[in-house]
Amino acid sequence: MLKYLLSLCISTFLLAGAAFAEPIQTGEPFPDITLTGNQTSAQQSYLGLSGNGPWNLTDIKADYVVVEIFSMYCPHCQAEAPLVNELFTALKKSKSAASIKLIGVGVGNSNFEINFFRKKFQVELPLFDDLDFKIHAETGDPGTPHFFLVKLNGNNKPQTALSFAGRMENPTQFLKTLQDAAK
């Protein structure tokens, strides 16, 4: 019996290890991810985008972009949604409104699921879909939610100014963290 319990524990430990990848860290290059998903004219205008996409991250007209990696299916992201809405409002009213933009990427989520999440939580910030987990893989398989503050560097290679795992929980404080990281 002990033998089998031991093998179960070892299997669990090793397989749990398989769950752990390395999300892109602060200071590392960030991929110029491709963004897809329907956006309203207000959302396009906010990001300085036009047309129906797909767009690249570097098409966004800003110095920095906050990319929230989330999923409609993730309970933490569901709980966090109203706070992300607050962050979006606070950011738009702040001195960083023009320089820092906020978007969400729904990993493993279809356009239907993104639209449902948007409606359910009255999300106004631009949300993009990532049904095939491409962006998720490009960003190092982060857990959800995960926030990246990306410095766009004009047309040069984007850089990760902040990599933040988990819920931010306090929008006011998190906005300050973002602003400090963007200095």
Binding site: M1, Y4, L5, S7, L8, S11, T12, L14, L15, A16, G17, A18, A19, F20, A21, E22, P23, S71, M72, Y73, C74, P75, Q78, G108, S110, N111, F112, E113, F116, K120, L131, D141, P142, G143, H146, A165
Partner: protein, 199 residues
């Protein structure tokens, strides 16, 4: 007893392989076991669209026994079988349904979630999804093990169910079946569109 421990150890290990998706932390790559992709479907379906859904009665987390035929003439029924509790893909499926109650209700449907786990396990698992648990009945097909899954032809050899969706209309007829690749989650949009066509 050893036989049972062996079986459940193997099933647990297998499910971790199936369901775990990368998350966050550092483990040297050489220590990470790579199980590879599992056989997407490993059972032979015994039911078909257009046929009557086999009836069943199973215990639920609430303590009540739920019988499929009790919804006849009253509600469409969406059944979501998932392989096992406490596994990431499975754990990332029902929390999505848990915020989408209105999508089912708009189509005059009830959702039934079924796994081959026992009720205490399901209770602890669904409490993790939301403080109050989930809005839909969660049924245990634990004992006789996987009897209902076997009846529908979706019990895999390792004793877990396929990741499958069945839509049954108010007459008790199966209108939609998706025995999904166990490695991926079905799109909620496909389920709701299928449900709308039943309504």
């Amino acid at each position: 007893m050893y036989k049972h421990i062996r079986i459940y150890s193997a099933v647990t290990a297998l499910l971790l392989c199936v369901c775990i998706t990368p998350a966050m932390a550092k483990v040297p790559a050489e220590l990470v076991y790579q199980p590879g992709k599992l056989n997407p479907v490993d059972s032979v379906l015994k039911v078909a669209v257009g046929k009557m859904a086999p009836d069943f009665a199973l215990p639920s987390v609430s303590g009540k026994k739920i019988q499929l035929s009790s919804f006849r003439g009253k509600k469409n029924v969406v059944i979501s079988f998932v392989p096992a509790a406490f596994t990431p893909i499975c754990s990332d499926q029902w929390p999505g349904y848990n915020i989408a109650q209105e999508l089912f209700e708009q189509n005059d449907a009830i959702l039934l979630g079924i796994t081959a786990d026992n009720t205490p396990t399901q209770y602890a698992w669904t409490k993790q999804m939301s403080e109050g648990g989930v809005w839909f009945p969660v049924l245990s097909d634990f004992w006789p093990h996987g009897k209902v899954a076997q009846l529908y032809g979706i019990l895999r050899p390792e004793g877990v169910t396929e990741r499958a969706i069945f839509i049954i209309d108010k007459k008790g007829i199966i209108r939609y079946i998706d025995v999904h690749d166990i490695n991926t989650r079905p799109d909620l949009g496909s389920i709701i569109r299928a449900l709308q066509s039943v309504k």
